[in-house]
């Protein structure tokens, strides 16, 4: 097991380096830079070239690419993300400001998705081809078909038209005012959670169906075990493996990928910061965010792999 963990850990380093090279080059292929975005955004007819050159020099954009890359890598090695080219503030500060909201939203949405997906998937499997199964399938297909931001827009319109009410527009941390916090975040969490529960519900249903047809389940039934016991002790443990992977990866994605939903609900999260970073050609900020999300994905993947190995001993011996 220790060798397996070490092997998986070592694989993370070249992956992260590859991501770093890719994002560094890709950002510089896109036309324009942060100085143009800042001074030419509204026409820039009075802007002098001297001013633009001065700003580029300040940001190190006049340096050759290899030098910019090595400077960035050296910073990363010291866990120093540098400063945002747009605001001049430390990137850790920019991320810290939005991380609490994004993490809470990702946790809430994943919890909602899990709470919906696992019971509904099991229910649909044990009631296969009954009205219960059909209802669950319609519910999950509807979730798959509806983008979460669209559901979010419908929710906002519904609240506005029916209840003449709108969620708060400014984030209040949970520990400051739990009610305000939940009043703002519950709606996007529901919209996103429902969307992601759909995939997991269908996966849970099919995995459960497969497991329920296994010989050992038939044996358990034949020896007269309670259905509840068969499901919880024998079927669920095996059927949940693929669902666990999906929920974990979705959680990693939710942390930085809720761009449109954050926009619809006006949430000051990492997704919005990502889009603004790209639009403003804020290289340092975008690079840091990509590295953060990549690290998060790899960590989640690593944890899932370990969990797999723990749940299914066959994996670690392959």
């Amino acid at each position: 097991m220790a060798f397996y963990i070490l092997k998986r850990l070592l694989a993370i380093i070249p992956t992260l380096f590859g991501v770093a090279v890719l994002i560094f080059l890709l950002l510089r292929v896109v036309p324009g830079d942060v100085v143009e975005a800042r001074y030419m955004g509204e026409g820039g007819q009075f802007q002098s070239q001297e001013l633009m050159q001065l700003e580029r020099k300040k940001l190190g954009l006049d340096q050759p690419l290899w030098k910019q890359f090595t400077t960035w890598m050296a910073g990363l090695a010291r866990l120093d993300f540098g400063i945002s080219m747009w605001t001049g503030a430390p990137i850790t500060e920019e991320i810290k400001l939005r991380f609490a909201l994004s993490l809470q939203l990702a946790l809430m949405a994943s919890t909602i998705a899990t709470l919906l997906a696992i019971p509904l998937g099991i229910l649909a499997a044990i009631k296969q081809d009954t009205w219960v199964d059909y209802a669950v399938r319609v519910f999950s297909i509807a979730g798959l078909a509806m983008p979460s931001f669209w559901l979010g827009i419908l929710m906002i319109l519904g609240m506005l038209i029916i209840f003449k009410w709108l969620p708060p527009m400014v984030f209040t941390p949970l520990w400051v005012n739990p009610w305000e916090n939940l009043a703002q975040l519950i709606w996007p969490a529901l919209a996103v959670g429902y969307r992601y529960s759909a995939v997991s519900t269908r996966m849970m249903r099919s995995a459960m169906l497969e497991v329920l047809r296994e010989d050992y389940i038939r044996t358990a039934r034949a020896k007269g075990l309670w259905l509840k016991l068969i499901l919880s002790r024998h079927a669920l443990k095996n059927a949940i493996l693929p669902v666990l992977t999906i929920i974990s990866l979705e959680f990693a994605f939710l942390l930085g990928g809720l761009v449109v939903t954050e926009q619809v609900f006006n949430l000051n999260g990492l997704g919005m910061l990502f889009v603004e970073g790209i639009a403003r050609r804020d290289y340092t900020l975008t690079q840091a965010l990509v590295m953060l999300v990549a690290t998060f994905f790899l960590t989640v993947n690593f944890v899932v792999d370990i969990a797999y190995a723990w749940l299914d001993p066959r994996i670690r011996y392959r």
């Binding site: 896109v30 143009e36 001065l54 709108l166 527009m169 400014v170």
Partner: protein
Amino acid sequence: MKRLANILALVSGAVLAAGLPAHAQQPRSGGELVFPVPSEPPSYDGHREETFGLIHPFAPFYNTLLRVDPFDKGGTKPAPSIAESWTASPDGLVYTFKLRKGVKFHDGSEMTSKDVKASYDKIIFPPQGVGSTRKGQYAIVESVEAPDAYTVRFKLKSPSGSFIASLLSPYNFIYKADILAKDMHWYETNIMGTGPFTFVEHVKGSHVVGKKFAGYWDKGMPYLDGFRAIFMRDSAAQVAAVRGERAHIQFRSFTPKDRDNLKAALGDKITVQESPWDCILMVGFNHEKKPFGDKRVRRALTLALDRHTGSKALSQIAIVKAVAGVQVPGTPFATPPEELNKLAGYWTDAAKSRAEAKRLLKEAGVPEGFSFTFSNRGLPMPYEPLGVWMIDQWRQIGLNVKQNVIEARAYFGVIRKGDAEVFMDFQCGYIVEPDLDMYKFLSSDRNPANYGRYKDPVLDDLYDKQSRATNLEERKKLIRTFEKRLLDEEVHYMMTLQWHRIVPHSSKVKGWTITPSHYLNNTLDTVWLTQ
């Protein structure tokens, strides 16, 4: 009888109040104004930035030397701010400003001419390593002097018809001289002015909060206890905020459809203010690309547009409306419609105009079905509808146009390289003033932002003459000649339609008047809430 008299007095009072302009009603003190801001600035330094995202949430913390009269709908009338009066020497080379006494910074210290001089020196003569985006607008200023604590003197190199207007810039915040002396970059990350509100907090990406400054020099002002500016990129979220009464106003603009939806949903709870907007999209022709170096082709392209019909249709769906020349319609230097309609592309007879366009294309040797690429900026409003409209108009004179949509932030960088043939260009001003509005069209060796890459010494000369003219009528005449040469004779550029600013806001908001510029009128000292 007495009761009847009371009722009559009440009714007549209500009628009078309804008929009075908002600023004439009795203002009420208190309340917090909440408004969404669609953009967030990179720093707090007004001398360095050029986005309304800085003005809307941060202008209330500062004063400027002069300001635009907050109740002037035209947005051009100078009014005192921390300068209470000013005079110009007979030769127009020296402007002297008398400052108010008792103006306090938020740290309690007194503001004097030393602070005004230091602020303007930073804008006009920035030291090495300090960026000033407006330095070029004050090229005629020779020096700024502070002969005594309450007098500031600007010496010019030559007389200027636009100097006072240039001091109305809402970006020219007055900073504290002592702070600037220690650190010229301090104001990029800190806020401390003399404005009606003091800074409370800025949570990046989220909001800015300001509270009433008790020591404000204008006694009784501001009326509001404070304000909260919420950064909100998505226009649907902004509309929802106003509709859900979570926000009172968005100071930039909404679309005609948003206005209609808000009015339908909230009725009398919404007041709509509209104005021609000092922003315009124009089409540039790269004179170095064939056949756009030929003025007959350029003239044909402007003649193809039926601006009058287009205005009626597009104003229903986009933030454009008035048919305009180089000045915002209805402002002091704008050409009257009957005169404007004589220019190429402004004729009221569209069939005659298009016949002339076809004739010119034939004469220039441009074949039927000639194809070219029109570069447009990747922004939905109003670039997209205007682009689609123009392509259709050009097709009607036998041209086949392909649209190349370029991502918004990269757009001007790409256009500047000179690869585009015909392209959308943009101009937006903080005040309607010919010097600012026409600078764009100067020869490319004088203005690198002239992406048409042409040189026209006649046009440059006209610009300089109107800029120096201190006689209003003489200046108007020169501006008309400039406009005719630019849009009709040479057609270096062609105008689309003037933007139209639509601000539907809560009827509780009083004391705010729309102007043609979304950069103006954001000090918030005159704004009050009815409840």
